[in-house]
Each structure stands twice: as structure tokens, then as C-alpha cells.
């Protein structure tokens, strides 16, 4: 079955809108987006694996996770701070990238709002991401510099040489 997947960008407002339907009820989909033991199973693009370091799903709480490639433990982590939660309906996070001591490795961040509605094949999830800068997009596209694909690595090479050139 082909699931609705809609991905649009507004460059002027630095906002990405994603709409996706899932063949499961809203309660189950909500759990899949908010419980570490389920998130660990699907968020990392294979062959990477996701490892949750901390999960405290409440307003003011946070989810800290890293990507594992070839059994190498992560040295960079993704941090999602829960800003607002409306149970079973929506939640908003501030997303950034940090080192193992939870220090920000970049000022780039994004604010993400996930909204869940019954409909379509079961549940329709709408994701809105407002990025602080182009760098935030670069980091999202590379999972904080650990993307496994050749294309990703090539982009990173260019990225690093650009940084080197401007210093």
C-alpha cells in the first residue's frame, strides 16, 4: 500500500512541512513517536542503529539519543527538549546537536511540532520543522555529521573545506 507522503519547504520562513499517513491507530502511532523503546526501532536510517541515552517525556524533559554505525558508539548526540505536550494530539521539541557531555556543538537548532490526527489509513501525522539556519538543515540531513552514505560524506567533505576556507 502506498502511504501519503508530502514534503514541502518554505525557504523564506525556513520551514519544512511533512505529512505522512500510517496504517495504525492514533494511540499506537503516538507511542511510536514518544516511547524510547519504539523510537529506537525506527528512527535511525539503516544500517545505523539508534541508542537512547535519556528519555523523559514530559514538558521540560528531554530525549537524548545517538546513532551507532558499525558498532562504534556515538560521540555526538541529538537532543530533543520537550517544550509543549498535548497528550495524544501534539508535541513540540527544540532539536539540537550536542557532545557526550551535553554541550551544544553548534548554535544550529530547529523547533519541531508533531501533530497526530485520526484519518487516512489510520493516522495522519503532520510535522512542522522551523530551522534556525541552513546549518540546521545540513545537520538534520547528516544526523549531526554521522550520515553513512557516500553522498552524505561527500557533502560533509565540501562542508568542512568550506569552513576551513572561511577561517
Amino acid at each position: 500500500m502506498n502511504m501519503l507522503f508530502d514534503f514541502t519547504i518554505n525557504k523564506e520562513t525556513k520551514t519544512i512541512h511533512i505529512t505522512r499517513e500510517f496504517a495504525a491507530g492514533p494511540d499506537l502511532v503516538w507511542d511510536a513517536f514518544t516511547k524510547a523503546e519504539i523510537l529506537d526501532k525506527w528512527v535511525a536510517p539503516k544500517p545505523m542503529r539508534l541508542q537512547t541515552k535519556e528519555m523523559d517525556f514530559r514538558e521540560g524533559g528531554r530525549w537524548l539519543y545517538g546513532m551507532i554505525i558499525n558498532d562504534t558508539p556515538p560521540s555526538r548526540f541529538s537532543l530533543a527538549e520537550f517544550i509543549k505536550i498535548t497528550p495524544k494530539t501534539s508535541f513540540t521539541t527544540r532539536n539540537s546537536f550536542v557532545d557526550e557531555n551535553c554541550n551544544a556543538i553548534s548554535s544550529a537548532s530547529s523547533i519541531t511540532t508533531n501533530t497526530f490526527k485520526e484519518g487516512g489509513a489510520g493516522t495522519i501525522v503532520h510535522i512542522e520543522k522551523v530551522m534556525s539556519s541552513l546549518e540546521a538543515l545540513e545537520m538534520m540531513a547528516t544526523n549531526g555529521f554521522v550520515q553513512g552514505t557516500e553522498a552524505g560524506m561527500k557533502n560533509l567533505d565540501e562542508y568542512f573545506s568550506n569552513i576551513a576556507a572561511t577561517k
Binding site: 525557504k11 525556513k14 495504525a24 536510517p45 541552513l134 546549518e135 538543515l137 550520515q147
Partner: protein, 106 residues
């Protein structure tokens, strides 16, 4: 300071300048004739675009021509495309996980 491409495209005048110089290399004076603003503010916009690394400069006699560095504009699209692919893959993985969870609950 390295500016952000998003900063370049946030302003309507700068977007219009990018459209103009994407078609052909132009001198600042030629660019200015398309806008009802001072030559000085055109220079300011060009400076910002240059700091975003979007402009290539060509000297011809005493005239400087500006044209768009297309690669740089494509960079945003490349990152977006890559992010889109990651999201697509994630959601296919989530489809499988949801399927398994539904079957376990039966």
C-alpha cells in the same frame, strides 16, 4: 563572518537580484535600473549576497559583473533532498514497526 543562504533569500529585493543575475552577469548599475531604490542600497544587498558566497565576480575593463553561483543555491536543495530521503526511509521503517506492534496486540 559566513552568512547563511537563508538570510540572502529572506529579502524580496535580494531574491529579485538573484533572479536577474541567474539569467546573465550584470554590473551593479545595470542591476540598479531594475529597482526603484538607491544605488547605495543595491550595493548593500550585493554585499550581503557576496557574504553568503552567492556571487561570482568578473572584471571587464573598469566594470565589475556579478553572476549567480548556481552551485551554492543548489546546496540548499541537496541538503533538503537528502533530509527528505532520510525521512522517507524512517517512515518506511516505522510502517514495519507499527505492523509488528499491531500483530503483537492481536
Amino acid at each position: 563572518m559566513r552568512r547563511d543562504i537563508f538570510q540572502a533569500i529572506a529579502d524580496p529585493t535580494r531574491r529579485a537580484i538573484l533572479v536577474l543575475i541567474a539569467v546573465q552577469a550584470m554590473t551593479p548599475n545595470a542591476i540598479a535600473t531594475h529597482f526603484n531604490i538607491t544605488r547605495q542600497s543595491i550595493s548593500k544587498h550585493l554585499r550581503i549576497l557576496n557574504e553568503c558566497d552567492l556571487l561570482a565576480q568578473k572584471q571587464d575593463g573598469r566594470e565589475i559583473y556579478y553572476e549567480l553561483k548556481i552551485d551554492k543555491m543548489n546546496e540548499v536543495d541537496a541538503w533538503l533532498d537528502q533530509f527528505r530521503k532520510i525521512m522517507e526511509q524512517q517512515f518506511l521503517q516505522l510502517d514495519d514497526v507499527l505492523n509488528t506492534l499491531k500483530n503483537n496486540n492481536k
